[in-house]
């Protein structure tokens, strides 16, 4: 996957490039809009990460310019601004996504994956999810572990489904809040942890291999081995 990172802050550029490479992306970096435009014209990218506060031009107008030039790849917008302005909302509706700084790396990676998945031809949606001996029937909204049906509430099922779909990857609390509850909030209490704790009590029974693991300071990993 070829990724174009447009970011002028050297510090952020550095760690983003490294962690994106570790995640398997082939990363090109442009420090300003001019370089980005040149790179985008010269070669093909699968996805772009664009910071809004570029030294020579506004990130949004860069994206609009690249779209004019025929860019089809999805864009993840990084914003250090506090309010999401209407133009970002417009791009979001057009299939792009945004993330406010500072962010968790896990969330950045998850959003990139989502953007790529959205833009790739959709494989027919599975009706069953399977992680080890845990099985989710998405049509009947039923979960079983080792043949035993789990007594889950609707909300718990949605949470478990989200974890299963991201099995093996780190998910943060704010990702869970965004994807499961549809809110971009940062509660300064342990609301998400308690939900996970409850779910873990139902999913990881005694003597079974624990599926939900807490990664302190980052979030949770489902079936991380």
């Amino acid at each position: 996957m070829r990724l174009l990172l447009v970011e002028d802050e050297i510090d952020i550029q550095g760690f983003l490039r490294r962690s994106l490479q570790e995640a398997g992306y082939e990363v090109e970096v442009a420090p300003d809009a001019k370089a980005a435009e040149q790179l985008a014209v010269e070669s093909q990218f699968d996805i772009l990460v664009v910071d809004l506060g570029l030294p020579d031009r506004d990130g949004i107008s860069l994206i609009l310019r690249l779209r004019e030039l025929g860019l089809r790849a999805p864009v993840l917008i990084l914003s250090a601004r506090r309010s999401v302005d209407d133009r970002v909302r417009g791009l979001e509706q057009g299939g792009d996504d945004y993330l406010t700084k500072p962010f968790a790396l896990a969330e950045l990676l998850a959003r990139l994956r989502n953007l790529l998945k959205r833009n790739s031809p959709q494989a027919s949606e599975a009706t069953r999810l399977r992680v080890l001996d845990l099985e989710l029937d998405l049509l009947r909204r039923e979960a079983t572990r080792g043949g035993q049906t789990l007594q889950l509430t609707q909300q718990e099922f949605v949470l478990l489904e989200y974890l299963c779909r991201n099995a093996g990857r780190v998910v943060t609390r704010s990702m869970i809040l965004d994807q499961v509850w549809g809110m971009r909030i940062q509660p300064d209490t342990n609301v998400v942890d308690v939900h996970i704790y409850r779910l873990r009590g139902k999913v990881d029974g005694a003597g079974q291999q624990p599926l939900i693991r807490t990664m302190r300071g980052v979030g949770y990993v489902f079936n991380d081995r």
Binding site: S19, R81, G182, R184, P187, T189, V218
Partner: protein, 488 residues
């Protein structure tokens, strides 16, 4: 926006001004007319009195000189008839003068000697006998059988007999009546016309003021780019508009400056925070769950708190300056609250708190999704952090008028009375509070940015009550109206 568009003309200033102006004008013209009327009626009276005095003198002269023979009656009668044809103020339509003039002569012992006029003169004689006459001064005499009084002049002649010449005031009154009627019609016309002109002019002028008010009220927290309409004329109203516009220019520029500063501050703090957080996270992943990673974990958590604090501080600062930028969408508060309670319920239960929600369905507000979500999360975080175990929280959401009213009630210890007074001021927190003291200031800031309000009080029994009021979305108001109309 419904400041002046209620379309109640009776309450508008244009109506009031034209009403008062018309009353003043009508009263003034009425007073002038009364004077004029008085003058005209006096003048008419004076003319008829002069005529009567002259004629009665002539008749007295003739009567005195004419010998008292068989021809006396005919001669004097003839003269009287002639005199009657020259009656002043006589209306043209009235051919027969006999009705309006009479001549009467009485002998020294008061008997009727000679009569010229309509009827036999007996009733006139009766009336004259009961009236006291002054020489050379005509007097009003009411004769039975005639609706209008006569003006009668009297003269005594040599043999002790009296002659009387009477002139009906009918014509005089008719002239005055006609005058009054014409005046009244003209007066009505002029007053109505004047009212119309004043009303239209003031309404036109005030409609500019109304437009200015409408636009000015629409210039909300975030939309400062609009300007009130200014007319080309250089009158008071357009001066008002220009002054308002200049004021708006200044507000817009200082608002812009504030945004530039807060944005720059946010950007300059967030970029290093992003870099620090990213690097910490990478080293955390590299350590792969070692014990020594614990400090890094807590630094990341503190960084997140710092970010949250930065966001809220800037939001509160902007909201205090009425400069919070909103991206408004329709938010179903009922549904949002249900989801929120769902999210917080396990944590509450964990802590031994009891949470109850009673909510009306379909309450929709027009608001900034992110801010409203964070506001409600803040209120719930607040309860979760500060309530002692085994307390309960009652949350209710309902419409009251055109407001959505969200009430949080608990039976905890309530607010510290000292803190209660300046609860919405930044960085005020209770003695045992662990937060950064921004929670309720943020809630207040968001509510105010949405033209709403927050009231906080300690309940009389126990605990605290927080009421957040937000204006309903306009459409919602319409739904409500139709709903009540159908119910009624």
């Amino acid at each position: 926006m419904s400041l002046m568009t209620d379309n109640a003309p009776l309450r508008s200033a244009a109506w009031r001004i034209s009403f008062l102006a018309t009353i003043a004008f009508a009263c003034g013209t009425l007073v002038i007319f009364v004077f004029l009327h008085q003058f005209v009626s006096n003048d008419i009276q004076r003319r008829s009195d002069a005529w009567l005095s002259g004629e009665v003198g002539v008749l007295g002269d003739v009567a005195g000189r004419t010998p008292r023979n068989a021809l006396y009656g005919r001669v004097v009668g003839e003269i009287a008839e002639l005199a009657a044809r020259e009656v002043p103020n006589k209306s043209a339509s009235e051919g027969n003068a006999n009705n309006s003039v009479f001549f009467l002569q009485t002998s020294a012992d008061g008997l009727l000697q000679l009569w010229v006029g309509a009827g036999d003169g007996q009733s006139n004689l009766e009336a004259i006998k009961t009236t006291k006459f002054l020489p050379d001064k005509p007097t009003d005499v009411r004769v039975s059988g005639f609706p209008v009084p006569f003006r009668v002049a009297c003269q005594q002649i040599g043999d002790g007999s009296h002659i009387y010449l009477g002139l009906s005031e009918r014509d005089e009154l008719r002239v005055l009546t006609k005058l009054r009627l014409r005046f009244f019609l003209l007066w009505l016309l002029v007053v109505l016309l004047g009212f119309g002109i004043v009303f239209l002019t003031t309404r036109r002028m005030l409609s500019h003021v109304r437009k200015i008010t409408e636009v000015a009220s629409r210039i909300g927290h975030s939309d400062l780019s609009r300007r009130v309409p200014a007319t080309r004329r250089n009158d008071e109203v357009s001066q008002l508009a220009h002054t308002l516009n200049r004021m708006l220019d200044r507000i817009e520029s200082s608002m812009h400056q504030l945004h530039t500063i807060t944005d720059a501050l946010a950007h300059d703090l967030r970029s290093p925070l992003t870099a620090i957080r990213g690097k910490l996270e990478m080293s955390l992943v590299a350590m792969n769950g070692e014990e020594s990673a614990e400090p890094i974990v807590s630094v990341i958590e503190e960084l997140d708190q710092l970010t949250d604090f930065l966001n809220k501080s800037l939001d509160v600062a902007e909201a205090r300056a009425d400069a919070l930028r909103l991206t408004r969408t329709e938010i179903d508060l009922s549904q949002l609250l249900e989801t929120m309670v769902d999210l917080y319920e396990p944590s509450m239960t964990e802590k031994g708190l009891n949470i109850r929600l009673s909510s009306e369905k379909g309450i929709i507000v027009l608001g900034d999704e992110g801010l409203v979500h964070r506001m409600i999360a803040n209120l719930l975080d607040n309860e979760l952090k500060h309530l002692a175990p085994a307390s309960s929280i009652d949350i209710s959401l309902q419409c009251s008028g055109d407001l959505a009213s969200l009430v949080f009630e608990d039976d905890g210890n309530g607010f510290d009375p000292e803190v209660l007074e300046h609860l919405f001021i930044r960085r005020v927190k209770g003695r045992n509070s662990t937060g950064h003291g921004l929670g309720l200031a943020f809630v207040d800031a968001v509510a105010r940015a949405h033209s709403g309000s927050v009231d906080v009080e300690n309940r009389r029994s126990r605990g605290a009550r927080i009421r957040v009021s937000l204006p309903l979305a306009p459409e919602e108001r319409r739904h409500q109206l139709t709903a009540t109309a159908q119910a009624g």
